[in-house]
Amino acid sequence: MPGKFFGGVHPAQNKSDSAKKEIRTPRSPEIVVIPMSMHVGAQCRPLVGKGDYVALGQIIGDSDAPVSAPIHASVSGTVVAVEARPHPSGSRVLSVVIANDFKDTPAGDPDVRTDVSDLSPESIADIIRSAGIVGLGGAAFPTHAKIRSGLGKVDTVIINGAECEPYITSGYRGMLENGDELLGGARIFRKIYGLESVTIAIEDNKADAIRHLKRLLPSSDNSIRIISLKTRYPQGAEKQLIQTVTGRQVPPGGLPADVGCAVFNTDTAAAVYRAVYNGVPLTQKVVTVAGSAVASPVNLRVRIGTPFSELFSACGGFKETPRKIVMGGPMTGLAQHDLSAPVIKGTNCILALSDHECGRAVSERACIRCGRCIEACPMRLMPMLMYAYEQKGDLDELEKLNVTDCIECGCCGYICPGRLHLVQSFKTGKKKLAEKRAKEAAR
């Protein structure tokens, strides 16, 4: 039963500059900085020390926690430091710094498979874990953990090709250039959950990607269903995509598996294919480099750990001084202050935005009670009231308004004519609320 998600906005797409060009692979960097935290869950423990030689694809960090994923060397070379370094999150995170020897010496013969029919769901999850795969759409939740939590519950797998954020085209280019791997990955997910078919959902602003994938699919193959979605932000948010494709609503505080669904990004599916069939761990990412301050927007296939500054240099540098550098899309991405921060597993885009892209300033930020935020909220919240209570410091009222349901998609902040910092207020509010609850629990 296909539905339509609530609310949403239509920001300008700004995808065309990078969409037309093939993914380019620039020269690998002299130094890679690989943080031990690139995913949701426990931070990894470094397994190498200063002075060690590491091979390409060698595991350099791991953790015993159930929600975590190992980390691999993205180049071969010598470890020059294991220390806290700038991270896209804005803080400094323990990282393994490797001086590239440009030999790409492999860590050993890869585990190549041609037939996966004997593999159990658990053993596929193990392969995915050892390849270090996490959600590549940006959320970076360890894929093996997601698979395991859904076993026995999931009746619908959705491969997420919505790519609803403006500017980002890395997923789109991946669909066009690695379509077979994507479809192969989709079939692996189908096998894991023992389903008749899986669904690939793509927004209709990527019509040629839809056509291309349909052409790759044999006409007799009913195991993969490709559907076109009417473009609207935030269609690619997990809960919203599930609602659009199945009509089901993930309950508050719940997971997709609670409504029998599992959602995986198209790039994640392709990475799963490469891990299972070719034995290739996750050491590279396709990253869209865009924004009107970038001389020549393009998609780059880069090593994980490549500093952002190298990506901008590979695109001809800046044609004007950017006002903001953002990792991720403009609606949910993280603003960067230090270009030495590296590409991590969840990086799908970096933007250099000019003044005019960030919106006109207003004399005074004030709510005029227009109600646009309520209409735009895909979680059916009341952002303007939540904001008022957060500003007032009334955490009980804030909780009653279900601030914890907020997915921080940015629709309210985008649409607000009074230019309020709504998402910021809700992030702060949630944090204060959690602290207050923790204090109460401790008493």
């Binding site: 508050p252 227009c370 109600g371 009341m382």
Partner: protein, 331 residues
Amino acid sequence: MNTEAYSVSVSPHIRTSEDTRSIMLDVIIALIPAIVGSVYFFGWRALVMTAVSAASAVFFEWLYRKLMKKPSSIGDLSAVVTGILLAFCCPVTMPYWMLIAGNAVAIIIVKQLYGGIGKNFMNPALIGRAFMLSWPAAITRWTAVFEPVKVIGGNADAVSTATPLAELSLSALPENYDLLGMFLGKMPGCIGEVSTALLILGALYLLVRKIISLRIPLAFIATVAILTYIFPRGNDALRWMACNLLSGGLVLGAFYMATDYVTSPCTKTGQLIYGVGCGLLTVFIRYFGASPEGVSYAILIMNACSWLLDKIGRPTRFGAKTLKAKEGSLK
């Protein structure tokens, strides 16, 4: 590389081009047909009144913020809208100084003392008008259309006449006005309220630009239409209803005042109830009140209910239906 140069803030990093100023500008644009019409029907004095009113509203806003050492807010153009709307609900004979006094009340007392834009809970222009009823003779001194009043100086020689609404309040169908004439605006009344045609033209612009939705105005006008049709006075229910819709400030109030963001509910359900409430009260006051007009008080009373209506209209949270279904299956 200079790392100090980049601004860092929480997402979203892009904003729609629409802001408070552009919204207010759209409302001003939508009011232009009615301004042009007011000159056509009542002469140049109508335009001068509108300009004086808008200018005084902006002046009082600027003055208050200056005296209170707050950042100037006149750039958001909301004071201009208040000024125009206040002039719109005055007869063309209204002395300028009274209009200016009305604006002082609207801007300083109703809007700024509550904290400025977005904080007032009642419509400034309508309270301004209510205040100007301190001069009951002046605010009900109607002149016939096409008999311009002098821009400056005496308006004592203007001949007072009855509006269709005044006739309706005496339970009589206005005999001297045909419906088409009333729709176009050929009748005595406040300078901005007479022409339903021009007000709807502006409202269409606001609807196309998605500045307003039909929920409040339609619920408002439909409620008035249904009630006046069911309880007509005189022998022609349809004409009674039509005269009620076309006279007084109903269309001006429904499209331009009841839809004021700040003082109306923000939720869809809240807006529908609010619109119906405005309609009910308008008819109630028109039928049983001492003064012929009920629109402005109906809106002001409903303004006071907006907060409550938003509580009623609060949308059901995402996923609630799944929770409900699960609880049901556990029983």
